[in-house]
């Protein structure tokens, strides 16, 4: 298993996409359930949220996956549920991920 960094960014123009109380509630619950699922399976190692989103970056996850393909599948799922554009970056090893983990540990 290796660690991967998933970077979630709002797509340009996303802020102008309308949401509603009902849609927002649905999205929060669906995303929370997915994160819980990751936690339960030990796949979510850490997360970070920028204090003030810059350049569209909204959230980062460090996930465990068996390889690039598995990490990409997690990224695709996150993208589908959150509407983010998700980039996947492999981390060299667990040791290097420790520094990032301290940003926000689930």
């Amino acid at each position: 298993m290796s660690d991967f960094l998933l970077l979630g960014a709002r797509q340009p123009g996303m802020a102008t996409t309308e949401t509603s109380p009902r849609l927002a509630a649905r999205d929060v619950v669906a995303l929370a359930a997915w994160h819980e699922h990751l936690r339960r399976w030990g796949l979510l190692r850490a997360f970070a949220l920028p204090q003030d989103p810059v350049g569209g970056l909204r959230a980062c996850l460090i996930v465990r996956a068996s390889g690039q393909l598995a990490a990409s599948r997690l990224a695709e799922e996150w993208q589908r549920r959150s509407g983010y554009q998700v980039a996947v970056l492999p981390l060299c090893d667990v040791g290097q991920a420790q520094g990032v983990r301290s940003v926000g540990r689930p």
Partner: protein, 434 residues
């Protein structure tokens, strides 16, 4: 999180939405910018809450984030003069009102006023009724353009244009949000009309596949409650709340599983929403303080139906008497038609037919299927098959709602010999259905 969590969260977001728009409006002074700010605030919650968990006081979290974002928007946009003026006003208002976000049980007047101001703004007289409805649904209820379009059976682009134009008109009229005292009394009829329009649109769909579009009807119920919260001393607001609560209490039983219409005598009264009926009764008692306006009388009529234990227990004498009073304050063909139905129930169909014959010639009702459907039913009850068939056919030519169409088709089929007279054969029916 579960489905109940989703419902609870939707309630939080729904309750906060107009407050957030109001708070942003107080700072940025422009409806479009305020909407953008709230939109971005909700997106931030969407980023954070799934990972960090929903805060203990989600409303306060949203309000703080919204105000910060609004201040940033003012700063970023560089609208120095307007910003300084509006922030000065906000600071003064906040200083006078106390804490930035009141604790539970604290005085909610300022926030209440914001919601009221928002409704008043959305019902600006420079806007058409359609625009008022669309803008209220977006700004006060938080429905998306797509949801409004779906609810009103309009193209999304048409609703989007309506909302954009409405915002532009408000800007052109320099519609003020931060008025010292919103001119509520003057706008109250428009506000109540908008809520009633939203309710009617949701409760009895003018067109479409199903009879009701529940979401809009429930939004109207929420709006009516909100208005009674913020304009508690106006009996007409309570009358509207009562009327909507009574009508909505029956919504789950108005159609069968296959979508066909169920009339009052066919509905399972044990499934009527008791909570709404209780709310309606309470609201009605507060509404009776005022004069007998059209809303109060309509609420009284709805109460007669909603509080009758069985269909046979319905007090048709009282209902006709209320219709008589209603005709004195609102003498419209629709009221007259409904009164005729009540007369038919009290005195029998023969007594009501002459009333309907006159109404069938009324220009306002000629294009509506309802008068023909009612007349057809009376003819059927009197055993006049030919007249019943002719009137059902006429109603069918005019009806646009598919659920009502199915009801009329079913009623027509039940008129003995109607199929032969209309040339409908079982085979033809089968072909049509196929």
């Amino acid at each position: 999180m579960t489905e109940s969590a989703e419902t609870a969260l939707a309630e939080v977001f729904g309750a906060e939405w107009p407050l957030l728009i109001g708070a942003a409006m107080r700072i940025v002074g422009d409806l479009q910018t305020a909407e953008d700010v709230v939109q971005e605030t909700v997106l931030t919650a969407l980023d954070r809450w799934p990972l960090q968990g929903v805060p203990d006081r989600p409303g306060a979290w949203l309000m703080t984030a919204c105000r910060n974002r609004a201040r940033n928007a003012v700063r970023d946009n560089g609208r120095a003069r307007r910003a300084i003026a509006s922030m000065t006003r906000e600071a003064a208002a906040s200083a006078a009102a106390g804490p930035a976000y009141p604790e539970q049980g604290a005085d909610h007047d300022e926030i209440g006023d914001d919601r009221l101001r928002l409704i008043v703004l959305c019902c600006h007289p420079a806007l058409s009724a359609d625009a008022q409805v669309a803008l209220t649904l977006r700004m006060v209820c938080g429905l998306t353009t797509e949801e409004i379009a779906r609810g009103c059976h309009l193209p999304t682009t048409a609703v989007a244009q309506r909302i954009v134009r409405a915002k532009r008109v408000l800007r052109e009229h320099e519609a003020v949000f931060l008025a010292d005292e919103p001119d509520v009394r003057a706008r109250l009829p428009a506000i109540l009309d908008v809520i009633y329009l939203v309710f009617n649109e949701g409760y009895l769909a003018a067109a479409g596949e199903t009879l009701s579009r529940g979401d809009l009807a429930f939004e109207a119920c929420r709006l009516a409650r909100l208005v009674t919260d913020v304009i508690a001393d106006e009996p007409e607001t309570w009358a509207l709340r009562a009327l909507i609560a009574f009508q909505l209490s029956r919504s789950a039983t108005r159609t069968a599983g296959d979508g066909s219409v169920l009339t009052l005598d066919q509905q399972d009264r044990s499934k009527w929403n008791r909570e709404l009926i209780t709310d309606g009764v309470r609201a009605l008692s507060r509404a009776r303080v005022g004069g007998p306006g059209p809303l109060l009388l309509q609420a009284e009529l709805a109460a007669c139906h909603s509080t009758a234990a069985t269909f046979d227990a319905t007090d048709w004498h009282a209902i006709v008497a209320i219709y008589d009073r209603l005709q004195r304050v609102q003498d419209t063909p629709v009221v007259a038609m409904n009164r005729a139905v009540a007369v038919a129930m009290r005195d029998g169909p023969a007594a009501a037919l002459p009333l309907l014959d006159r109404l069938a010639e009324d220009a306002a009702l000629k294009g509506s299927h309802r008068v023909w459907a009612v007349r057809a039913d009376l003819h059927r009850r009197l055993g006049d098959r030919v007249a019943a068939t002719a009137d059902y056919q006429r109603a069918l030519r005019l009806v646009s709602n598919q659920a009502e169409r199915r009801y009329l088709e079913c009623a027509l089929r039940q008129v003995p010999g109607a199929a032969a007279r209309t040339g409908i054969t079982r085979e033809a029916e089968h072909d049509a259905a196929g």
